[in-house]
Amino acid sequence: MAGGYAGKFLRVDLSKGSWDDFTIADDVLRQYIGGSCLAAKLFLERYPIEADPLSPENPLMIMTGPMVGSGFPGTSRFSVCAKSPQTGIWAESACGGTFGPELKRAGYDGIVIEGRSEKPVVLSIIDSKIALSDASSLWGKDIYEATDELKAADRSIKALVIGPAGENLARIAAIGNDKGHFSGRAGLGAVMGSKNLKAVLVKGNAGKAPKADDDAFKTAMKAAMQEIKESALAEGLHMMGSDANMDLGMVTGDVPVKNWTSGGEFDLANSLSGPTMREKYLTKAHACTNCPIACKRVVKVEDGPYTAEEGPGPEYETCAVFGTMLMNPDLTAVIKANELCNRYGMDTISCGSAVALAMELFEKGTVTKEQLDGLDLSWGRMDSVLELVKKMAYRQGFGDILADGAVHAARRIGGDAIDAVVHVKGLEAPMHDPRGFHGMGLAYMMSNRGACHLQHFVLATEQGMASWPQLFDMKDDYQGTTSEGKAALVYNSENYGILANSLAICHYVAYSIKPETLRDAFNAVTGFGFTFTDLLSTGMRDWTLKRGFNNLLGISKKDDILPKRIMTALDTGGAAGSVPDVDLLLKEYYELRGLDERGFPKAEILAVLGLDDLKARLYQ
């Protein structure tokens, strides 16, 4: 058996209340590695992709990778995958925290959950004993309450839990791991809710999966720790969290302002930034299992209208979406909004983006105070925002319209509301403005779960956090507001970066260490003996497989677009006057990726990558 793998997967049928183990052959693991790549392969092979995402036929997959549980920095991750109820296409949402390594310790590489339970249940895998137990008393409880209750008897249990948003099938619902880590994007909490699955608990006793070469692993591990120690990026993340980007990003034009209509708000950025959080509200830095960086924030707000007990603090994305996007300079209100989203189980990016849409429509008069049950949704009114967030989780009043995300909301509202939404393929964009970084615009267009900054390493390479000329041809410094040369950068950064979600390693760790170190650690764990070329080919297979999945669902070139708002230049800020050259980017990218004029992978590319089944389905 290949090293690093636990050697089996758990399949649970909630409709029948039964479960069994299954295995995957080594040659398949070698091609698809694990995580979201393996999940896509399994989905295409075994499940009907045309199924309604909220039906029992849509499987929910919780997948780790071979390096998870190895002790290598940043390998605490797992990917939750399914067809998205928000976008109707491929969905994956990676999460750090504690669940992944514990699942491996329990002897499983992943869990595939099928069907739907009649009543709310908890799935537990505790000390080799698997059980489905009644969760009626937990249904309705928020993620913090339910997690505390589920772990009350044994704090070493790791929990994946949904909140009211998932139970109410909000299409932006998230899944929380031990209160501080979230599979946020694309509505996978609603898939879990649709299965009446309140939580998955795991506690392992199977020990660590054996590695192929312990000595080589120790050497790679030592190198990684040294590289992280010397990395200014890692130091910045430890000191300021991901919100270190706020001040820097406002200068470069990365940070969206006022629902993507403005820029250059430096004082606003300063009030919401990582240094400000550190000075005023940080109580400690926190880490996922086995991570020396510890970028996670633990915060406490003692005074003012938005007091918060000590708990998980907001990431950059949350500070932008509930801060600059809403013209809110109050970081304590962002911390509160983050806590509410965590408790209710909602993706902060989608939630905040839907609120930003409502604020803009309120300003225009399209949405009225009456529709909002008396809430004044003027820019910056965070008291109203916090009320609205609650309404979204419980699908009350106007919250019901926003609960499925900005795109569904705009379609229900009608008129030109959709023009105020920045999304690709139905997923609201994360908080990185493609007008400031054209490569990110291409990455949004081509990401397989919709607009996304985590299906690739473009954020790192285009913004200069990392430079890997040994891996592929790249310059020392890319100007953000140019489209020339970006297609190749995006293509390569995808092929390398998409592996993060099959190896299940944190992006920040991968940015902070050399590719050689990651390759050597991967080989030491698995014994696969991959070269850089092998790794990049695996990334190509991963991307192409998911693209094919989406093609089968109707995705084509017409969907590879940036929204009208992004194609409108700003007057102010670091990105002023700039819009991506979409035609150039797509033309060059399509050639590199081997996509035909419909946006389908060409038959010869599918053949080279060994995706013959997919080829047969796309070209039947």
Binding site: E230, S231, A232, L233, E235, G236, M239, M240, A244, D247, L248, V251, F266, N270, S273, G274, P275, T276, R278, E279, Q463, G464, M465, A466, S467, D476, D477
Partner: protein
């Protein structure tokens, strides 16, 4: 007439350029503290010894700007170190200083959150650096 880089005359010209910049005082109004640049030697580029430069910035004013010794450089609030070729790339705007820092091409000792918070000041002084008419060591005939 270009001035030889990293000499006292060049430091004086750089200081004068900062003082003459119409926006600098406002942008740098919150900045407190000295910055030292350490240029690693590179004999192949006519930089046989390390060079230490000390610059004092204070709320939009500029104080001491000197070529100094190692001890003085290390007393600065922020010490940035890099190879000569990297510094030249930064001056020519071929390499953004923040990116160079993140990629490990420059190293910094000092309060990183403070630098992040005041990134506009950092960008401004680098911008002005590029405007000083400079004769670089490896351009000498």
């Amino acid at each position: 007439m270009p001035i030889k880089a990293m000499t006292q005359e060049w430091m004086d010209a750089y200081k004068a350029a900062i003082q003459a910049d119409p926006d600098y005082r406002n942008i740098a109004k919150d900045w407190e503290g000295s910055v030292a640049l350490v240029v690693n030697p590179d004999p192949s580029k006519n930089v046989p010894e390390p060079i230490y430069l000390f610059m004092d910035y204070w709320h939009g004013d500029v104080g001491e700007f000197v070529v100094c010794d190692k001890a003085k450089a290390e007393s600065a609030r922020f010490v940035m170190t890099g190879d000569y070729a990297r510094w030249k790339q930064v001056a020519f705007k071929e390499l953004d200083a923040t990116k160079a820092l993140l990629q490990g091409k420059l190293k910094m000792k000092g309060d990183l959150p403070y630098v992040v918070r005041n990134i506009k000041t950092v960008n401004k002084v680098i911008d002005i650096l590029g405007k000083v008419d400079t004769l670089w060591p490896d351009d000498h005939k």
